[in-house]
Symmetry: C2
């Protein structure tokens, strides 16, 4: 680590100038919590290798796993933009970072791909600088990245990616983010059917106004889900995970969504729905084995209808981002 | 108790043919839980004296405290209609009840007046017959009464009146009712300004469709409220009790609603809002003393603007209806 960085920083720097960080994929909305709920999974996720420099500004030296889809231009990449906002906020425009981004999860999958990268970058920066403030302090910077990635500074992916676990964004103005508990045995089965559902477009097909009676159904369900998370009542969690507003619209963009739901529920899923804006779908299960059975069944079906897919089975990730050796 | 009733009943009859029962007033909606949340208070409430007879059918021999507003005709009174539905359901159309209804709380106050009467009646009938099934089994019959009283079979007053405590109606079809915990220290200050806001009309001024962004705000808040109830986080409960959809419309029918809110919050309220469809307003507080200070302040103000009022200070009632000596 360059001497002048060590000297100037307001934190206790890590003592090394390079770090490798993993940040998790996330499932936003969680069926009945459009724009306010999300949770993190153990896998997949993204990796960032970050090097502290004493040259102001951020560079991106390498991106892998993105099929050339992400910009190396630091003014246009969500990771560098977020990290720059963070540096500005702590008054360290004198230093800089070089970033390698290794995408280990699909882009445009509805699994919070940009959030995972952004959170990995922010967590790497914070850790290198020895900033010990809690992870959720990084949330506003991560949301700047989301704003660039999908046109709206949502937090339902970045908040669980940063904080781990199950997260409620009660309010955006002011930002009020609450960690919710969950039954430890819950497993998550995720299948990403390889079709294109860009987040911006998926948002645009949602109507601006909804029937009050449907909204009442929705807030009865989110209240039931939160209750079930606190009491560990998995049946209640399952009963509550219904979406009468958003899913009927977004399901149209996902191949055989309702058939896949039927297959997952028959195979023992607690609940089934769209992850974020799709096209990934996810199921909660009571154990790992059932989750594997579901991903197998859904992938077999997708293969049959000639759609490629990727699948993940994971418990809920309570730790959020972590430093890799 | 007549011999043939004792003999025929499928339950263990109480051994007396007359009973006096109290059932509590309730605060429905709880600001951010329109149509799905409600809680019961210790006071006020209604009383029913019920006598088992071996003559089929239900009679109402006396109603007090209603200023002649409630019908003695058992086909038109919510209490007798609900109890008759209950009798039919258990196949006891051979017996009957005579009912005295003593209104101890104002009608049309937004405090679940008809629910308190109905629940008192149902609980009296169940107890006289020795029916030991849980109170929430009576819910469908109580909802029949609500349907007659306000044109819609809501459960957000009858469910907490029957079950006590804080109740979530997650779903109406099928009916799914969940008891929520609450911090024991929460006190409730209620003020009923004596102006007329009929429930039917209060419902009709609410629009059928709402903005999705407002609905999102609302379900973020109800999720926050449920979280705060489980963790006992009274600050979070207060922050979450906001209503951007219904309150702005209903507040117009309540004299100086926003001024009363300001006064209550200044006096230390955790939250403030409309009880049910109004015109009663309520505040949560952290102790009894603050609740008294708030009712005093609001009643003084209402007196100044020449509006009569009644006030109640009470903890949350966890027991629901009870037999009185």
């Amino acid at each position: 680590m360059p001497e002048d960085i060590k000297k100037d920083t307001q934190f206790k720097p890590l003592g090394t100038d390079t770090i490798r960080v993993f940040a998790p994929a996330t499932v936003a909305n969680v069926v009945c919590g459009f724009d306010v709920l999300g949770f993190a999974v153990e896998a997949p996720g993204d990796e960032v290798i970050m090097r502290l420099t004493n040259k102001p500004g951020i560079t991106i030296s390498k991106i892998t796993g993105d099929d050339g889809r992400l910009p190396l231009n630091p003014a246009k990449n969500t990771v560098s933009v977020s990290v720059q906002h963070y540096l500005n906020s702590i008054g360290r425009s004198d230093i800089g970072f070089d970033i390698e981004l290794h995408k280990k999860m699909p882009i445009g999958s509805g699994l919070g791909s940009s959030s995972a990268s952004t959170v990995a970058g922010l967590f790497a920066a914070k850790t290198l600088l020895g900033d010990e403030s809690p992870a959720n302090k990084l949330l506003p910077f991560a949301m700047k990245g989301e704003e660039m990635a999908c046109g709206h500074g949502h937090a339902d992916n970045v908040a669980p990616a940063l904080m781990g676990g199950f997260v409620l964004i009660r309010s955006y103005e002011p930002l009020d983010v609450i960690r919710l508990p969950h039954p430890k045995e819950l497993y998550c089965a995720i299948v990403f059917p390889d079709v294109d559902v860009p987040t911006r477009e998926a948002r645009q097909i949602i109507r601006n106004s909804v029937l009050l009676k449907d909204a009442v159904t929705q807030w009865g369900n989110i209240a039931g889900l939160v209750s079930g998370l606190y009491t560990g009542d998995i049946d209640l969690i399952g009963r509550s995970m219904k979406d009468v507003l958003i899913e009927p619209v977004r399901a149209m963009l996902i191949p055989d969504f309702y058939l896949m739901r039927e297959m997952a529920m028959e195979a023992g899923a607690v609940s089934f729905g769209i992850s974020g804006s799709g096209p990934s779908v996810f199921a909660f299960t009571r154990d790992e084995q059932t989750a594997h059975a579901i991903t197998q069944k859904l992938q077999d079906h997708l293969t049959k209808i000639k759609i490629g897919s990727q699948a993940y089975v994971s418990p809920i990730n309570d730790a959020g981002p972590r430093v890799l050796d």
